[in-house]
Symmetry: D2
Subunit: 339 residues, 4 copies
């Protein structure tokens, strides 16, 4: 059996990962860690796992990690940057969930993440783990920076359009909405049920740390610098992200060209669903799945193209994509454990 | 203007109280306290009160309390028992929201509340502030023990039946369900939105501290000891309590006798609504109001009578009832500020 | 007592209106109609109104309307256009909730509302009832076209900026999110609880009938044609609208100029709250109130200004604004019944 | 491939069944029917199934059913009683989701289901498909009456206690709470999101059609007639049932005897989880699974035993249990497709 380490197993992304791995055909969670809950079993923290996964939660111990065949690090931002260099010394392949190895330009970290990056050499080593962008590099990677949830929803929506030159690179606006699990598992006033339910709000307007991540990857596809306006919102639901993306279509772009671009790029993608012209994505339709659903409208009145994209923030936006990356890295069928 | 002190204004009951008082025809919140948020204004803690109530939150200061005309203490259990004796020295009338002065038998506190009662002399001074039970005593009271939310919903359902001897005093079972605001405002894992929404559970089965409070008051009406089985549950909604109460009807009791008993006792009660025979209470129908809605079914198959009772836990179950008590104590119309 | 007719009292806007009117200091609901529920009492349709408003629901009868002092028509789009001309013959002042008299250009109705307008002469008679735009005209109006919920949230956000020339009139994008009550009271698959809760979606992308209404009013303020891109979304909550508005700031506009413009225009407005620089609106903060909360961020990276606006769609977005209009039309204090 | 017919595939139970079957190791949905949606594909009705199950929905055609290897009938009560006799003529094994073949005493149908039973001979043929009660009979059955959701939650809680004589058969009270999917997929006023969310209510008090079903099976275990008081409630959540069951413990029964009884009966049951003494079931812990979680409290004050039971109403309460039955009937591992 292929032994997997899950570091930080009790956050929502870690939990979702364990949930996928217990049904994976080739791999099994073997060593799972939690600093806060070490000493308890996984099913004591999450009783839904009683009789399903009753592994003990341990404090992170590099020797035990080294005894595994593969490493998932679902640690908080700012901690991964410290732990991953040590994990790399084990020689095992790693998928890191944090933002700590996603930005190639280390100078962005103080501004957007609030810390000075201490492992710059590994920024070039890491591969941004969005299979629809980087599948070939992922195959050979030692360290995957698993994409952020918001970036996944935006990047999948825009790649074919930028690659085919169908939209302008200026003035892209992303209005994104996420379920509350995106805010993590720690209880806070803002996510206390009576305050959070029956409420809707924007947060970190034009200031969210996923902004430079999206810009970096879009710029890479476009071949020039893309600047983004990104506004996230909080939806009173557990899981799901819906991004409404406003772009300017290039001169001469029509609906059939857009549809053709999506089909060309995504025809063989197992987890992208382009919806028929009259339909629109809903987060419920991708809930619990690794799918990204996409639809678009071209507005003749303003010349704007609107793309709507839906994913499950914990699956395609985190744990599902991480497993997809592992499958690619190990040469397994890409959908293993994900359908 | 009649100046009111609200001690502990930032809990949910305190907030609801402020919300009622800003529209009260005779009284106004004047001095409001919070240990956690002192130094901020009320509308900084609750932005919905911007331009509505912008009073500063202060730490509790007895001199400032003494400058008010009336005192509401919405302090936690175990703290009220220490503060209320000092508040009484101001000579002002007090409505205390906590459980600390509800039980006449001080020996129950260690078992049910986990502390030794330090102000036993005031247990006999205090009046249990359920107007439908104790209106005459409330008029003359110096210290009101404002009833618990669950007890209010149960006591209003049973008083006419016990008073008229229509039910047995043995084997009363209360299965109660409350919205999450009943658990208070402090963020905790169990009330974190992603854990609390789309979930339902029982808690403190046969062990909730409201049990002896209900028993005390029912026994008083029945004229003999009533023992209760009480199970509370948590509903994924903000506010509301629905209690389903199973009692054994006395020999010969029929539906018309039950209906007549309710009508006799509640015909002049402004906040009790007995529903027509085919309807049942729903928490939404009493949300934001001081009403208690009641309905019953007599089951010929088992001889059991089932009463269903609904209140808003923050209004009739807390702040609304507190204001009703103030109105009675001050000789104002009982519905002032509550309709 | 000032007698008010509410035509279409059982929709959510009609219900909210009744709820406000029963506590209004000068007016009372007197004659309420419903085609679907005539023959029942209001509290049979909405049991929360038992002992609060037990008026009978009747079919629309012009003679009975004429016996009232004021008319609110909360009828569906397409029906108002037929009924309002007859209502006008009573000589009573009217506030119409529908979109049927909001657009001055009758030629827009076939495209956006799907019908040919049959009462064009009254389009010029009607006054668009947004007090912050048209207070003086409202005072003298015979027929008020009460604004749409989305338009209210957008127009209040943009008026001071357009009036002061601080933003460009090109390329305004509105990404709006509404609670489910905005979709009305009729049960439909999309709003069935198990399908609607734990879901988020866009709808009518770049095709919502509120688009020309917003454009008309913005153009009026700007003094030139404004074209809008408008995308509404459905939030799994009962009430509330949050609009995130993306505009291009004019050359030289800075934050202090924007704040000054809001303050200049809204300093005396009783229902507009401009938030401090670090805060953002949340729908819960305006829930059940007639307030519109506003905040903005100027993004130096893209030169875009983002304004966030929150209202309660049933209050400032419908019934509250309607009552505000009545108060103005009758010369009563504008906040009567609304605080 | 083992071909499965799903009759009535677009109700919530049918949908859940399809969802399980697409991942079943031995069987596949092959022929799926819907009277309302015939002519559409399954993924047009449920877009989450795009690229997962795109079978056409057809009107029921017995010849096509006969071409399948196994039949699930997820038809409404009152329709199954007419269709099942014809289905039996195909000679295929059938699991029927309705209540139409659950009651052995045909005379109960007019009272509890409102119709005269037209297929009485098949009432004795059918086997009540609760594996923990009837596994041996299920193995040989031609027609399974798949248990109701509420009955499943109650029967699993009580079997060991009745079988071991640890509780009295008199005065059993069940207070049950269900998510809204239990009410089916048809839009109705009571389940319209704005009316259903933030609300809690009882319904069909002492009058629910699952009452005689529970009594029948409990009586069978107890060896004498058991009469039940059963009250269902509606919880604002999609899925899950929690039953709080009040029984009288037999003289001398203590906690260890109760725990021992559960362990004796359920030690080898793959889908029953008896919780440790300090824990209580929550619906979220069984959501999406075929588990039934059980816990109990013995109340020394009243002599009552309280058992709390949680299942997913759509899985162990419907589709999961149906697949479990198929697995048993076909001699496959009982957990196939269910873990």
């Amino acid at each position: 059996m292929f032994k997997v380490a899950v570091l930080g197993a009790t956050g929502y992304a870690g939990k979702e990962l364990v949930s996928i791995l217990v049904h994976h055909p080739y791999a099994r969670p073997y060593y799972i860690t939690s600093e806060s809950f070490s000493g308890q079993r996984f099913d004591q923290v999450y009783p839904e796992f009683r009789a399903v996964c009753e592994l003990p939660l341990e404090k992170l111990d590099l020797k035990k990690v080294a005894a595994c065949d593969f490493i998932f690090a679902a640690l908080p931002h700012g901690l991964s940057v410290k732990e991953v260099p040590k994990l790399l010394e084990t020689g095992k392949k790693i998928v890191d969930f944090s933002g700590d190895f996603r930005l190639k330009d280390a100078s962005l970290y103080p501004t957007w993440y609030g810390y000075e990056h201490s492992s710059k050499e590994n920024l070039s080593l890491s591969v941004y783990g969005l299979p629809e962008y980087n599948r070939e590099q992922i195959k050979k990677a030692k360290l995957i920076a698993n994409p952020g949830c918001y970036p996944t929803s935006v990047l999948l929506a825009l790649k074919p359009l930028l690659a085919e030159g169908l939209i302008e690179t200026e003035d892209i606006i992303v209005d994104a909405k996420s379920g509350v699990s995106g805010a993590g598992r720690s209880p806070k006033q803002a996510y206390h049920f009576p305050e959070c339910t029956e409420n809707f709000k924007a947060y970190k307007v034009a200031a969210h740390q996923h902004t430079p991540e999206i810009e970096q990857e879009l710029s890479s596809v476009a071949g020039k610098t893309v600047t983004l306006l990104f506004t996230p919102h909080l939806v009173p639901m557990i899981r799901g992200i819906l991004s409404t993306i406003y772009v300017r279509s290039a001169a001469g772009t029509d609906e059939s060209a857009i549809r053709a671009a999506y089909q060309k790029h995504y025809i063989d993608e197992p987890f992208i669903r382009l919806l028929p012209p009259t339909e629109l994505p809903e987060t419920k339709h991708v809930s619990g799945t690794n799918f990204c659903d996409l639809a678009f409208r071209l507005d003749p009145r303003t010349g704007r193209l609107i793309i709507v994209s839906a994913i499950d923030n914990l699956v395609k936006g985190a744990a599902g994509q991480a497993v997809q990356n592992m499958n690619i890295m190990m040469g397994w069928p890409e959908e293993a454990g994900l359908k």
